[in-house]
């Protein structure tokens, strides 16, 4: 399942997409949990009883601001979360 967390508002579209099928068989040791400086990710059991990763609820409406420090304008060449997720399950829409 592709889970898109985020929103669209007047300034743009801000979604973090997580391919939860890859989370179920994570080969990166859940590295995303510690890679995010704001600890935005959390493990959860989804509606089909699979353990997957999700974006914590309080961050889902403020992604544009919360992720700003990790974007190229702040000196990062790679997003820490997408870099840590070696199977490539995490993607940013912006």
């Amino acid at each position: 399942m592709i889970a898109n967390y985020g929103y669209k508002d007047g300034s743009g579209e801000y979604y973090i997409s997580i391919d939860t099928d890859q989370c179920i068989v994570c080969t990166a040791g859940r590295a995303c949990l510690t890679a995010c400086p704001k600890e935005m990710f959390e493990p959860m059991t989804d509606d089909y009883d699979d353990e997957v990763i999700a974006v914590k609820a309080p961050f889902r409406r403020t992604l544009a601001y919360d992720c700003a420090d990790c974007k190229p304008s702040s000196g990062y060449t790679d997003l820490p979360c997408t870099k840590a997720c070696t199977p490539g399950a995490i993607k940013h829409s912006w």
């Binding site: 399942m1 592709i2 889970a3 898109n4 985020g6 929103y7 669209k8 508002d9 007047g10 579209e13 979604y15 509606d47 089909y48 409406r61 829409s93």
Partner: protein, 299 residues
Amino acid sequence: MAAEEKKEYWRWQENCWIDESKDWRTAKIITAGIDVGSVSSQAVICVDGEIFGYNSMRTGNNSPDSATNAINGVLDKAGMKLSDVTYVIGTGYGRVNVPFAHKAITEIACHARGANYMGGSTVRTILDMGGQDCKAIHCDEKGKVTNFLMNDKCAAGTGRGMEVIADLMQIPIAELGARSFDVDIEPEAVSSTCVVFAKSEALGLLKSGYTKNKVIAAYCQAMAERVVSLITRIGVENDFFITGGIAKNPGVVKRIERLLGTTAVQTKYDSQIAGALGAALFGYTLMQKQAATKVAVAA
């Protein structure tokens, strides 16, 4: 001077229905789904995996009371007691506050399951236009979610936004859809993505000479464009199904269909019950699994 009665133009029709052709007393498994949304609450009762009855009403200021009122409405109509129901699943915004629920499941999974029942196993793309959020869901032939996104950051493109416009125009909400087509030329969509600003813009349009119908058409178009931009993000695969209260507004539905170049699947059921129905069906599957496990253990 008698006080002028304040008419509530936003108030939509509450609904309670029972399938008189079914006898719940002969059922093996009775399950219920309770969808406590931010604007409306629904209770659906299923007997042996088939819909038996439902109640759809406005959510009050207290989720447990809303859940209780919703289920009591359908139980009373059916001559049942809560103890007759084997398993209850809560869903929606207030799912964790359903006092008599055995389990809570997100409305995303429940809407997909409910749409699969209401629209058939060929439904792949679901648009749930709820009271205060909008969800685009892609599912497989069993109604299992394969892709979803949700926008609950603002009220534009939601049922609440439409209620605000109904009040502003002083036209009953059930008439907005039909009236939006009663225009000589289809207007441009209102530009605002926020319902508060859209309201201001609508007032400006009225002052500039737009008729009420034309303003409603502009708002319906804006709502359609907004949700279409959401749904195209996950991709539209036929069959396409719309759940939630806005599915009853042809002014928005037809414009969405026009923008997507497809037609939404019609259903004989109330589009607002999809979440609660899905929850009740999840409950039925769980009960079947438990019964199968017991048989296996006994053997």
